[in-house]
Symmetry: C2
Subunit: 231 residues, 2 copies
Amino acid sequence: MTKPALPSPLEGPTQPAGQEDADERILKAAGKLFREKGFAATTVREIAAAANMLPGSLHYRYASKDDVLLALMNRAVKRAMAAVRAAIGEVRDPIEKLRLGLRAHLELLCNGDDSLYVLLFDWRSLPQGAREGVERERGRYESFWDGMLYEAHGSGRARPVLDVELVRHFGFGAINWVATWYRPGGDRTPSQIADTFFAYLAFGLIHEPSRPADLDTRFAALMAASLKGQG
Amino acid sequence: MTKPALPSPLEGPTQPAGQEDADERILKAAGKLFREKGFAATTVREIAAAANMLPGSLHYRYASKDDVLLALMNRAVKRAMAAVRAAIGEVRDPIEKLRLGLRAHLELLCNGDDSLYVLLFDWRSLPQGAREGVERERGRYESFWDGMLYEAHGSGRARPVLDVELVRHFGFGAINWVATWYRPGGDRTPSQIADTFFAYLAFGLIHEPSRPADLDTRFAALMAASLKGQG
DNA sequence: CGCAGGCTTGGTCACCCGGCCAAGCCTGCC
DNA sequence: GGCAGGCTTGGCCGGGTGACCAAGCCTGCG
C-alpha cells in the first residue's frame, strides 16, 4: 500500500506523465475485462484493481459501470472511424479503398484496443437508455462504409446488387467473426486474413469486363431465386 | 398460488402431456433469456419464473446455472447437426449441399430455438471446466462442414484455396453475423438471406470452366500477396 | 387401498455486487 | 509559504445473487 508519490522509473504501473492518465487506464482495463469475461460478469472492483486504483476512485470518474461501457463504446466507434480513414489516406480507387478499410478495421479489432470487440459483441449489455447516442455514431460508421460501397458500385466495377446494406452486413460478418477465433501468434496476421477475405469477397462482388456474360446471368438468376425462397 | 393439479385445457402453461416436460420448459426459457440479456445478466429466478416453476424445482434438475448453459449448448450442436443433415437429405451435388446446409443453419439460428445463438455468442460464459465436452461436439459440427468443403473442392468446381478452415470461418462469419441484425418480420426470410449470401460466396469461391483463366490468375495473385501482408 | 418416491414448495444462507461518501491527502497555484 | 480544491482513500450499505434443503404433496404403482 506504500505508493511512491513521485514517478519512479523502476515501477511499471506508475508512469511519468501523471500515471499515464487515470481515464485511459480505466478504459483500457475495462476493455480487456469486458472482452474476456463479458460486461455483466465483470465487477467494478476488478476494473479498478486492473487499473491500479480503488473502486471509489473509479466512481469519481464514472458514476456507474454502465457509464464505463458507454464511454468505451463511443471510443470504439471513434477509433474505428479514424483508423479506416487513416488507412485509406489519399487513395481514390474505390475497390482499393474497401480493401484498405477492411484491413484497418480487422487490425483494430484483433490487435488494437478491445473497445471495438466490446462494441460489436457486448451490444446487449448497453442499457436501453444509453443506446441512442452510440447507435447514432455507429450508424455513421456504417453509413461511411455504405458510401464506399455505393462508390464502388457507381464506378461500374462492382457487381450490381439489390441492397448495399446487405452487402455490408455480409462483409462485416465475415470480418468481425474473425475476432471469435483469431489468436495472436498464429501464422496469419489480421492484415493477411483481411486481404485473403477481400479476395474471397471481391471475386464474388467485383464485375470483370472479361468475364463472360453467362456468369452474370447465372448470378442474377441465383439472386432472383433467393427472393422467392428457392434456388 | 392455487395451481390446478389436473391438466386444464383452458390454461396455456399447463399442457396435456405432463406440462410439456419441465426440462424442455427450462431450456426454452433459459435460451430465450440468455439470448436477450446474456448468460451473466440472467438470474436463475428469472429462468424459473419463465419456465413457470420455482427456483428450487429448477435446482432439482440442474445443480447450477452453468449446468443449464452446458445442456443448452450441447443441445444446440445436436440440433444444428441434425438440421443440416435433414436439409441436405439425399442431395449429392457438393455445391448444392453447401447451399442447403447454409440455409438450415441460418434458419435454425434466426427462427429456431435460441440455443444456437447462445452457443455462438455466449461462448465466453461457459466455464473453463465444462468447455471441453461442448468444444469436442462443436468441433464435430465444424469438421462436418469442412468435409463438405473438401468435397466441393475435390469435385473441381470450387476455386483452389489454401486453407479450407479459413473458408469455413469466412462463411460462418457472414452467416452467423446475420443473427446480430436480423429481426423477424423484415422483408427477407432467413432462407432468402442465406441464398443471397450463398450467391455472394459462390461467385467468389466456385470455379467456372467458362471463366477466363485471367481471373484465376488474378485471384491467385491476390492470395499470394495477402500472405506477404500487402496487395 | 395404501404406500413409496419423484417432484415441488417456500424459505434460508452466505456472499458480494454496484453505488456511495465523509474524511483526508497532496499537488500546484497564488 | 500557505491555501484551495481536485483526487484518492477505505469502508459502509441495502439489495439481490446462486446455491441449497427439509418438509410435504401428489401421482402412479402394487
